[in-house]
Amino acid sequence: MYSFTRANKKSFFAEDTKLWLIFISAVSALMILFASFLFIEALFYKSDIKELKTQIIDNNKKIEDFTKKIDFIKQEKQLYTKISVNNELLKDGVKNLLDLIPDPITLTNIKIEKKSLYIYGVTPTKEVYNVLLLPPLKSIFTTTTTHFYQMENGWYRFESVNILKEEQ
């Protein structure tokens, strides 16, 4: 049979079916894209967290190092201060002891130790020594022992041993 009209191309899907399929595919694609975007962002955050954690560990280590260094400098400073104070006290101590010696008495030797003082010298009389030097020595030291040796000119050579007890 022969037809005067040309046959229309018939689609596998109807028009409305095609529209639905395109719509569902587009929405699905958008949702997949959105989920992927969030997933990638989350991965970036995860990587940043890892980096931050490494940074925290490094910085904590640095803080620990600095704390050690600071403590050490403080120790050094403390040592310096202690030595300076010690030297100052030693100087004042020696100065005060030598200032104790009255003019008529001449020293030949003086040995200063941490807890004791040995004085060797010459005094015109025992009284000069006993009045001018002995009282201040007695007020400082726990025990004071003095030996006198008469010289040819009548003066006295003396040896004074002064001890400070531990408690003081």
Partner: protein
């Protein structure tokens, strides 16, 4: 026996197949819910969790960073203030240099090594016995005063002996040199 599937009645309104469209709509809702449940919701959850953790970690990192900056500043300040002491504690004791330094106050006759010991775990203490000649005790006081400006950390210690000798004073004292271990 032949199984006969009941045919879905075709209901049309203005040429639109209502049943078919309703089925597609249902399919859309199902696909939407499945994707939402399987992909989008877990992604949002994961994203939110990571974001929250990131900001917590960031806050912690910032806090530690500030603490580190404070410590660095404190260290630099302390180092600057105590530069002289830090360097002095690193130097070796030079006998000749010490003799030169004390020349103004006394003539050093000898410096004898006595012993070496560890002081406070981190320092080394070297002890010397110094024998010198000076004119007056004042020179000794001035020397002690000036020793704090010397390039080493020195402690002058007991026993100290002053001995009159031919119009001069012979001085013997213990000298301790401190150095970082």
């Amino acid at each position: 026996m032949k199984l006969k599937i009941p045919k879905i009645p075709k209901i049309e309104m203005f040429g639109i197949d209502i049943i078919k469209n309703m089925l597609f709509f249902t399919l859309f809702v199902v696909v939407f819910l499945i994707l939402l449940g399987i992909l989008v919701a877990p992604s949002i959850k994961m994203f939110k969790l990571q974001k929250r953790e990131y900001y917590i970690t960031k806050r912690q990192a910032d806090k530690i960073e500030t603490h580190l900056e404070d410590k660095t500043y404190e260290y630099q300040k302390l180092y600057k203030e105590n530069r002289k002491v830090i360097f002095a504690l690193k130097r070796e004791f030079d006998k000749d240099n010490f003799k030169m330094f004390t020349k103004k106050y006394m003539d050093i006759l000898s410096i004898k090594d006595k012993n070496i010991s560890v002081y406070n775990k981190n320092f080394i203490k070297k002890t010397y016995i110094v024998s010198a000649k000076l004119n007056t005790p004042t020179d000794f006081y001035q020397f002690v005063d000036m020793s704090k400006n010397y390039k080493n950390i020195l402690k002058i210690y007991f026993p100290i002996v002053f001995k009159a000798k031919n119009g001069d004073i012979k001085l013997i004292y213990k000298l301790e040199h401190f150095k970082v271990k």
